[in-house]
Amino acid sequence: MVYLWSVLCFSGLTVALAIWLMISERLLVDYGVCKLDINAGEKPLEVDGGRTLLSTLYANEIFIPSACGGKGSCGHCKITVTAGGGPVLSTETPYLARKEIRSNLRLACQVKIREDIYVRIPSDLLNVRMFTSTVESIVDLTHDIKEIRLRLEEPDQISHRPGQYVQVQAPSLEEPVFRAYSISSPVYEPNLVELVVRLVPGGIGSTYLHDLQVGETVNFTGPYGEFVLTENPSVEIVCVGGGCGMAPMKNIIFTIYNKWPDRSCWLFFGCRTTKDIFYLEQFEKLAKKHTNFHVVYALSDKLDKNEKWAGETGFIHLEVDK
């Protein structure tokens, strides 16, 4: 009997509290329809108030980069709010420099729409779309790095600048999360997005991508990023990196030699052992064709007895100094 009463009493009270909260929410925090103005009239929207700026923009197919999914822990979703955003919250201050606060930068995931709001979004971000693609091929580059080629379905072309990245939607227990990966396929292959992914043990995004099979569907948004190749052909390009940091450099290098065959470019790539080397043959072939392209691969670990390596050794940043 006492168990029945306990269950009844507890559920009754919980239901009563829930109803009380729902009624107060209806009465207290109803903001009605608010105006969301982007770039001074470029894209005026009518939206329901009460949600965060990030999720509202997302619902309207404007994809602001965010690695944490709106939890306020990555600080990527910075946009300019010129009016209607309220004061800067203490949850935002750790991610905003004083200069950024002065220029009205806010974290879109923390700003709640309560009134008409005026924001400025770089036109690059307005071009960001949601893409559907299918896995065309998966190649093991090393023991933990895979090259994954995605054939675009809807829309079937992507226009990006070399060095930019996409955010792949990976399913997780609660809700899908987005993880950022650089595009490694050159820009002259617009209906293909190639990613170079290193498996992070326990990582949501890399585990999902590594477990994919050919033919499966992958969704991502993009392109994002300000790390892009300068369009001035007289500027010499030096790429330094290691591991899956290869992705944007591969895109940049192949794009360069498609567009400016004589542009000067160096690639410094650091590996630990000969097992970590990948793409070397491709680049050597490219270097034979274009004399202004120079490839330097260096190994940082000591060579095993049965390993053969004629190239440089040591850490890659020291190699650049030479």
Binding site: C9, T14, L21, G86, L89, S90
Partner: protein, 196 residues
């Protein structure tokens, strides 16, 4: 029934039986939010308000629902549910009627849900067999006491920023040590009034 007057309980809860410094409840938000006096005042106010209100609501639920039905074993879970719901309500209420206050302490309100001082005060009220008026006095006093402790701590930590602290003690360790010293200082009040 406990015979102490509500005023005495209020004073005791602030000074001699400070919920933070003698019972060490609500330490996590105390350490986390005592960096600046402004923040500490905001959180202190919010805690005081929620503490007073939840002791009142929990008193009513305990004596009008749980005891008559013989369900006092549900005390913990029901108190927690009430506190969580009340904090949600306060958040909406403040947001609607005082946006300025909401922005000042809005983000600390959700933190209060998990502040053990709030649940602690409601449970002490039951253990010590307080009447309604005594409970209100205790809830309000415990809130003021908690606020006093965090504001003092924030003042000390603001000063500490300019002192030369040995590296292993920087940050939370020195905050813990200062809390201990603060608690010992509060023992000086011990002779004034006392509640069990």
């Amino acid at each position: 029934m406990n015979e102490t007057s509500a005023i005495v309980i209020l004073l005791a809860a602030i000074l001699t039986n400070n919920i933070l410094l003698t019972n060490f409840l609500g330490i996590c938000s105390f350490i986390a939010c005592s960096g600046q006096i402004g923040t500490a005042v905001g959180l202190g106010t919010a805690v005081t308000f929620v503490l007073t209100m939840t002791t009142m609501i929990n008193f009513a639920i305990y004596h009008l629902v749980l005891i008559p039905l013989g369900l006092d074993h549900l005390t913990f879970i029901i108190f927690i549910a009430v506190i969580a719901a009340f904090v949600q309500f306060v958040e909406m209420f403040v947001e609607k009627f005082s946006p300025k206050l909401y922005f000042a302490l809005g983000i600390f309100l959700p933190l209060i849900t998990v502040n053990c001082a709030i649940l602690g005060a409601s449970l002490f009220m039951i253990i010590r067999d307080y009447s309604f008026l005594q409970s209100v006095g205790f809830g309000f006093g415990a809130g003021i006491g908690w606020a006093l402790a965090i504001i003092l701590m924030a003042g000390l930590r603001q000063k500490m920023r300019y002192s030369n602290i040995p590296q292993p003690f920087q940050g939370v360790p020195i905050a813990m040590i200062v809390t201990c010293v603060l608690a010992m200082a509060f023992m000086g009040f011990a002779g004034m009034v006392s509640i069990q």
